[in-house]
């Protein structure tokens, strides 16, 4: 090979950054493609530069790790080993199996109207995850946001949705979200976590093997204590109240059988409810490439390879496990890709430390997953009139009706019969709820386009396997270091957005 191989890394969060650095250090030219204006992903989401934050670390954890990642990225960019394409929203990765070439298709800029195709010899998917939120009456009211959404708006835009917040749901994300909101000046009236201490104790051996992670959790808890946040365990949101915006929530204690304890209902006045029930992996790009899934996550081997040649995956896309696990997986994936692209087999002993961390952190994630299960009985309790599909405004009663009397046995049929999951978000928000309500397994979404694409961009694509032009150079060496606006194959000036 006369030219150094090129790896496209999709996603610049912890997994993507660790992978990009590991590969670049081993002589691979990396194109890092990311939707945000700055690297960091969700975990290390940075405030917009123009906001002039002089102490962004006040909203972050593990800041030193971020500084290391950022310094590495800056160094490799300056040396021309990493091309960082910011504000590039990837909607599809296409593969030419014969040539072993990939076309990474993105829409550029905030308007997402102009198409760009990046050529690569291999692809590493570090697409992260998004939050699972289970419905309850009032969950569509303005003022009800996902826990991660509240955190993203705070970290990126330095804003709060209101003055008094309740944080609720289940999962390890709730603690840092409550702590962040409180530190930023919101009054956090309560943190309602549906898991209880007993569930934590059942997983005690697996959790105790992770002193670092436990200390992290203790740090979050101490911060809550400092801000006087009331933590209610075995407690769930029953309803959000308000007419045109949130005014209060009702929470109640959960009994062991999942029923709500009579007399435990408590109404809390608030203008913000940050709610989440864990995370789900982003797998659209992997699915379209033909990668097998394991449950709802991309299946990978010990080298973080998917079962499609030339495609690696790391981080939340391969299973929810947090930033530290994403770093370990990304590092291994980047080293493996670098070796394989040179035509050699990697020696796993070289990444033994990352491998051990990966094993340990996956065990920890599995233990957490067992603790933070969705609150039992939520589906049975959901009233028929509650909207489940936020886009198409499909109610729980309509979703139930797709099964009985209409006889649907899978999410796709439920969608066809009820329209739940047919709207803008393509079921990303409601699929877990629809699965829970109907008893259908939560299957992958099968979304060939990972985001809305203007018809003009699709129409302008050349008729090749990868969507890359047959002739003409791809991103040349000379282009490395130029601004994102100057590189890539423009596909089309899309003109007006897609029609109705």
């Amino acid at each position: 090979m006369t030219e150094r191989p090129r790896l496209a890394v999709v996603g610049a969060g912890p997994a993507g950054l660790a992978a990009a650095l590991a590969a670049a250090e081993r002589g691979v030219r990396v194109t890092l493609v990311d939707a945000a204006e700055q690297a960091g992903g969700q975990f290390y989401r940075q405030p917009a530069a123009a906001l002039g934050a002089r102490r962004p670390q006040a909203l972050h954890h593990q800041w030193r790790t971020w500084e290391r990642l950022r310094a590495g990225l800056d160094r490799h960019r300056a040396a021309g080993r990493i091309l960082h394409l910011t504000d590039h929203h990837v909607w599809c990765v296409a593969r030419d199996p014969a040539a072993g070439v990939f076309g990474v298709h993105a829409l550029r800029g905030p308007a997402q109207e102009e198409g760009v195709v990046v050529r690569a010899d291999a692809v590493l998917l570090a697409t992260g995850g998004y939050e699972r939120v289970l419905p309850f009456p009032g969950w569509t009211l303005p003022g009800v946001v996902t826990a991660g959404g509240a955190q993203a708006m705070l970290k990126g835009g330095l804003v709060l949705p209101g003055r008094t917040a309740v944080v609720a749901g289940t999962g390890p994300l709730l603690l840092p979200v409550a702590g962040g909101l409180a530190a930023a000046g919101a009054r956090v009236a309560a943190l309602a976590e549906s898991a209880g201490p007993a569930a934590l104790l059942r997983q005690a051996p697996a959790l105790a093997a992770q002193p670092g992670k436990l200390a992290e959790g203790a740090g979050y808890a101490a911060r809550l204590l400092r801000h006087g946040v009331r933590v209610l365990t075995r407690c769930t949101v029953v309803a959000a109240h308000g007419t045109d915006r949130l005014e209060a929530v009702t929470v109640a204690a959960l009994d062991r059988d999942g029923s709500l304890r009579p007399g435990s209902y408590r109404r809390i006045r608030c203008d913000t409810l940050a709610v989440g029930h864990g995370m789900l992996p982003h797998t659209d790009l992997a699915e379209t490439l033909g990668c097998s899934l394991s449950g709802t996550a991309v299946r990978v081997d010990d080298e973080q390879r998917t079962d499609v040649p030339g495609v690696w995956a790391a981080g939340e896309a391969t299973g929810i496990g947090g930033a530290a696990l994403a770093l370990a997986e990304g590092h291994i994936a980047g080293r493996s890709a670098a070796a394989r692209l040179r035509g050699t087999a990697p020696d796993p002993r070289r990444w033994a430390a990352a491998g051990r961390a990966r094993t340990r952190l996956r065990e920890f994630a599995a233990a957490l997953d067992a603790v933070y299960a969705p609150p039992a009985g939520w589906a049975e309790r959901l009233p028929d009139e509650t909207v489940v599909c936020r886009c198409e405004e499909v109610t729980a009663g309509e979703v139930r009706g797709a099964v009985d009397p209409l006889g649907a046995g899978d999410l796709r049929t439920v969608k066809l019969l009820s329209r739940a999951g047919m709207g803008w978000c393509q079921g990303r928000m409601c699929a877990p709820a629809v699965a829970g309500l109907t008893g259908c397994p939560l299957t992958a979404g099968r979304r060939p386009l990972a985001r809305p694409v203007p018809l003009g961009v699709l129409a302008a694509l050349p008729d090749t396997d990868t969507g890359l032009p047959e002739t003409g150079d791809d991103l040349a060496e000379a282009e490395v270091g130029r601004t994102a606006a100057e590189v890539g194959h423009p596909v089309a000036d899309a003109g007006p957005p897609e029609t109705d």
């Binding site: 123009a50 996902t146 000046g185």
Partner: protein
């Protein structure tokens, strides 16, 4: 305490935009959604079916609940689109194309 103080922000000069005709001050670098939150606005869409108010939900561009009309273009995700000086932001009614 507020988020700006917490991170010791020194934002650039604010710019004026309008929301449903009302002038608002927005900071450079903020998204449309962040600028609206900072002004105390949490809803800027009414749904196609029941006409119910919506605003930010996921905050990261996945849920499409925060769709808004900016400078006459409907269906913009407020949580992703950066606010620009002079932007005319309007509550999106239904599909946002009823006025066409």
């Amino acid at each position: 305490m507020n988020p700006m103080e917490l991170v010791r922000a020194r934002p650039g000069a604010s710019r004026t935009v309008t929301f449903d005709g009302r002038p608002l001050a927005a900071l450079p670098g903020q998204t449309v959604a962040a600028a609206l939150w900072a002004a105390g606005v949490t809803a800027w869409r009414s749904t196609r079916g029941a006409g119910r108010p919506r605003g930010v939900f996921c905050g990261i561009g996945v849920c499409f609940d925060c769709l808004v009309t900016v400078n006459g273009r409907p269906n913009q995700r407020a949580c992703l689109v950066p606010v620009r000086p002079g932007d005319v932001i309007r509550t999106q009614e239904g599909t946002g194309r009823d006025d066409d």
